[in-house]
């Protein structure tokens, strides 16, 4: 064995001492909460109701599809024993999160008390996901008129943000934050995240960074806040910091979206590593899609649109997503795929639907400009493609 040079040994020793003196890094709020949940879950095997409550809390924290599926399966088992409104509401909620809209609707119609505020909220969510955004907004506003709780404020704020009414959206989010106590820092962080998304929509990246940092201070270590922070930092050119955060998020979630985002970030600097990340992302998307088609189709389609709009799976995915959730985001996605594969007529029809909606997908104006440009170029491209198809 070759001995290390004294200077390097010395440096290592100093580094070791410094790390030892510093002690272990403090766990983030997210890590602490997750660990507490997992400990409680380990003790809750014999109590299905408690287990459901804990699994639900875990799924809401991680956003993980497997966690949501566990909730879904346990709800089904408990519903088979006794059909209560509580369980039906949970079935509806988890089905919405998994984009299984028919299952959500089926649960809601079985409620003994369909007028319960929670049932009405879920009904509004269902309408929203089905593209009936005005109906959803009316219901959310009606519930808000009955009581300005933080969640009702947030729902209406979200609708306002999607309509481009950013000032009212921000005011409502701020009002929701004012309702919260120090025991609700995760909710506060989520609302701060929403306020940052308003800035992100408008490409006010520095302001978005401020919001996301504040959200992280309120509740540290949450992947959802961190990945948005990374996105905003990257947009402002702070790529090193963005990369570090993305790597952390990827390590924690293994989510293909963040693998792809990291790949995009490092592509110029390290194309080989980026390509490897992309392969991992595509594999993960494919695997997740096989198990959760409705929940993953749209995200997978977005990934392919960014890499290869003419990917053979892009249309299938976009169409499945649109069938599952025919809202403006899925419609725009499908329009992009149609345009990419040369179906300009269908792309135009879909785009008209997007333009007719009161909801604004992010960067809609830029998307529309790009669309117009592509449609203008499209007749030649379509003809060329058709020639190739016909062997010409």
């Amino acid at each position: 064995m070759t001995a290390l040079p004294a200077s390097r040994l010395g440096a290592l020793l100093v580094a070791w001492l410094l790390v030892s003196a510093a002690g272990p890094a403090a766990a983030s709020d997210y890590e602490v909460e997750l660990a507490n949940l997992d400990r409680a879950l380990a003790d809750a095997d014999a109590d299905p109701a408690r287990r459901l409550q804990l699994l639900d809390a875990r799924a809401s924290l991680t956003g993980d599809l497997d966690d949501l599926e566990q909730v879904s399966q346990l709800v089904d088992r408990l519903l088979a024993i006794s059909e209560t409104d509580d369980l039906l509401l949970q079935r509806a909620a988890v089905s919405l999160e998994l984009h299984r809209l028919d299952a959500a609707a089926a649960a809601l119609v079985r409620l003994a008390q369909p007028a319960h505020p929670r049932a009405r909220q879920l009904g509004a969510d269902l309408a929203r996901q089905r593209g009936r955004v005005d109906e959803a907004q009316r219901e959310d506003e009606a519930l808000l008129a009955r009581g300005r709780t933080w969640d009702r404020l947030a729902r209406v704020a979200y609708g306002e943000r999607r309509r481009g009414h950013e000032r009212r959206a921000d005011r409502l989010y701020a009002e929701a934050q004012a309702e919260l106590s120090a025991w609700e820092m995760r909710r506060y962080a989520w609302l701060e995240l929403q306020r940052g998304l308003i800035d992100l929509d408008r490409r006010r990246f520095d302001a978005a960074v401020d919001h996301f940092r504040r959200a992280d201070r309120a509740y540290s270590g949450h992947w959802l806040v961190e990945e948005h922070l990374a996105e905003a930092l990257a947009a402002t050119g702070r790529t090193e910091e963005a990369e570090a955060i993305y790597r952390r998020v990827v390590a924690s979630t293994q989510h293909p979206e963040y693998l792809a985002a990291l790949a995009d970030l490092i592509a110029e600097r390290d194309p080989q590593a980026a390509a490897a990340l992309d392969r991992q992302a595509e594999e993960r998307y494919a695997e997740r899609f096989s198990r959760f088609p409705e929940a993953v189709a749209g995200h997978f389609a977005d990934y392919l649109l960014a890499r290869d709009p003419r990917h053979p799976r892009a249309l299938e995915l976009a169409e499945l997503d649109h069938r599952s959730r025919p809202g403006v985001d899925a419609t725009l996605r499908l329009a992009k795929v149609c345009l990419a594969i040369g179906d300009a007529a269908r792309a135009r029809r879909l785009l008209d639907q997007v333009k007719a909606s009161p909801w604004r997908p992010r960067n809609l104006d830029r998307e529309l400009r790009q669309f117009q440009a592509d449609l203008g170029a499209r007749p030649v491209a379509v003809a060329t493609h058709a020639r190739h198809q016909n062997g010409g």
Binding site: A26, N36, Q53, Q129, M185, R217
Partner: protein, 554 residues
């Protein structure tokens, strides 16, 4: 790289909408909780804002002048003897002369006069002003205690938790303080009370959001109702409602019977067990012993010390301001130390009110624990609500009192079995409850009045309005002239439904229902007073009076 629209509405909402607090197996120890912090709900954990009791009585030792003892107790969260650093507690205090008897003549026993009395009393309790002891605790578990509005001037102290302190005020008065963990001094069959009002969250897993599954539309009662299987004692599950809950069954949640449940010997089944549901439980407390002369410059005149407690929690927006960029350590209310005067109001704006506590059972029984009714001394707008509520309770408790051969002040006509009756208007309920509201509450003996002064007995309307602990310094502070640790206030509350003048073969007293001999002679099982007669641990004869906690202090 272009920013992506990663928004997934329902997933993100779900991220936030699930409660971050986890249910704990213990049932609620408090009888006064606003629902949002009431751990009786399946999805609400125990909470340091959960106020339990506001004890208060004149100190027995008067050799050094009149002193008053005040003890505000609350949930021992995060643990016994450790205070939550996001909390702010207030003990509000007001000293006044003993006034002449309001609404003394029978001609004044009207709803209109009652509401006028309530309105007139409102003016005394303003949001601003008055005296208070305000407590916050920092990350090092040092208590920062502000004495605000007292005659000698404002001052502050920083004190360690879990030990007795003697503090000298600017005016030279010696104050005793204890902030820390103690044994829960409240001894009570709380599950029995909840059984009597058919309160589902005590017996079933009911989430906080399900506001329609709290007091189910089944008659209130002291005696079990035949067929009320949702709440009647089940020998196969004896601990149901005493720490054990079942999943909520599907509706209906009504009762269509018409008889009391009786055993083979013809005995009624008591909804109460007489067991102490608080045995073995610890609380955290702020306990003070204050010279009356510290509270008022006219201690000879101002013989009524009114006190109530409040819990406030730091607003999230305020917390983020004190979270440093690189670390997350609660800095507590350090800023309050450097300010005086108006800074106290500014400090309070950083918090939001969660719970209030004045009288036992004023909230639990009469305000139904609704969050928006947590007004403390400012519960005067609820006066109408009390009449309506009392009317509703009366249709349950009064027939069951009469079934035991006792007389009730509530006019239930010829109704022999409880009925579920509600009122929309106080004017409809008032004729039924009038006698209850205005009758004098007989004390069990003369020990309450050691000086033998001409102090009128209190009547329910002046006890419950306002919701404060009004301590008469010329008495021994036994409820309702204060609240001593040994008072069995839950049983005394039930006694309010007795015809105090003539319901017991002669007068009843506040201790009638606490007498074993009454239950021995009654056709009922179990033969026990509704609530335990003593605390599980003996109280101390010296400050801080509440017994040592069960769990070790830090």
């Amino acid at each position: 790289m272009q920013p992506r629209d990663t928004f997934v509405p329902s997933a993100l909402l779900a991220f936030a909408l699930i409660a971050t607090l986890f249910a704990v197996a213990a049932f609620a120890a408090d009888h006064n909780d606003p629902n949002a912090v009431n751990s009786i709900f399946a999805d609400i954990a125990e909470n340091p804002a959960d106020l339990y009791d506001m004890f208060g009585w004149p100190a027995d030792d008067r050799s050094d002048g009149d002193k008053v003892v005040l003890a505000l107790t609350f949930a021992s969260i995060p643990r016994t003897g450790v205070f939550d650093t996001d909390m702010l507690y207030r003990i509000r205090i007001d000293a006044d002369p003993r006034v002449g008897r309001p609404l003394g003549s029978e001609s004044e026993h009207t709803l209109k006069a009652l509401l006028r009395y309530a309105k007139a009393t409102t003016k005394k309790y303003k949001i601003k002003g008055g005296q208070e002891i305000r407590v916050t605790v920092d990350a090092q578990q040092q208590a920062h205690v502000d004495f605000i509005g007292f005659p000698g001037g404002d001052f502050a102290e920083t004190l360690a938790l879990n030990r007795v302190h003697t503090v000298r005020s600017p005016g030279g008065h010696e104050l005793e303080l204890y902030l820390g963990g103690r044994d829960d001094a409240f001894f009570n069959d709380l599950p029995g009370f909840f059984r009597s009002i058919n309160y589902a969250p005590q017996f079933y897993d009911v989430p906080h959001a399900q506001s329609d599954r709290r007091e189910l539309p089944i008659p209130k009662t002291l005696l079990e109702l035949e067929g009320n299987d949702l709440f009647n004692f089940d020998p196969a599950m004896p601990r149901h409602g005493q720490g054990v809950k079942k999943p909520m069954p599907p509706p209906p949640y009504t009762w269509s019977g018409d008889a009391y449940k009786k055993d083979a010997n013809g005995n009624f089944r008591f909804v109460y067990s007489g067991k102490d549901a608080q045995a073995g439980i610890d609380i955290n407390a702020i306990i003070v012993e204050l010279p009356l002369a510290f509270i008022t410059p006219r201690p000879q005149r101002d013989r009524i010390v009114s006190a109530w407690g409040e819990s406030w929690v730091l607003r999230a927006a305020s917390k983020i301001e004190i979270i440093p960029d690189d670390s997350k350590q609660g800095l507590g209310s350090w800023f309050s130390r450097t300010f005086g005067g108006g800074a106290h109001q500014k400090q309070l704006k950083r918090y939001k009110l969660v719970d209030t506590d004045g009288l036992p059972f004023a909230d639990a029984a009469l305000s139904e624990r609704w969050d928006e009714r947590q007004l403390g001394a400012r519960n005067l707008p609820l006066a109408r609500r009390f009449v309506i509520r009392f009317g509703h309770l009366g249709w349950g408790f009064a027939p069951s009192i009469s079934a035991l051969g006792l007389g009730s002040c509530f006019d239930h006509g010829d109704v022999e079995v409880p009925v579920h009756r509600t009122y929309k208007l106080a004017v409809e309920a008032f004729p039924r409850v009038k006698r209850c509201f205005f009758q004098e509450l007989n004390m069990p003996d003369d020990s309450w009045n050691p000086k033998g002064l001409d102090i009128p007995l209190r009547r329910p309307f002046e006890v419950f309005i306002p919701n404060v602990n009004a301590i008469d310094m010329d008495t021994n502070g036994s409820w309702p002239f204060g609240r001593r640790l040994e008072d069995q206030v839950a049983t005394r509350f039930l006694s309010i439904f007795l015809d105090q003048a003539d319901g017991c073969g002669g007068p009843c007293t506040l201790e009638t229902l606490g007498q074993q001999s009454l239950w021995d002679a009654a056709p009922i099982e179990p033969k026990t007073p509704p609530n335990p007669l003593h605390n599980d641990k003996p109280f101390l004869s010296e400050f801080p009076y509440l017994a040592e906690p069960h769990h070790p202090l830090p």
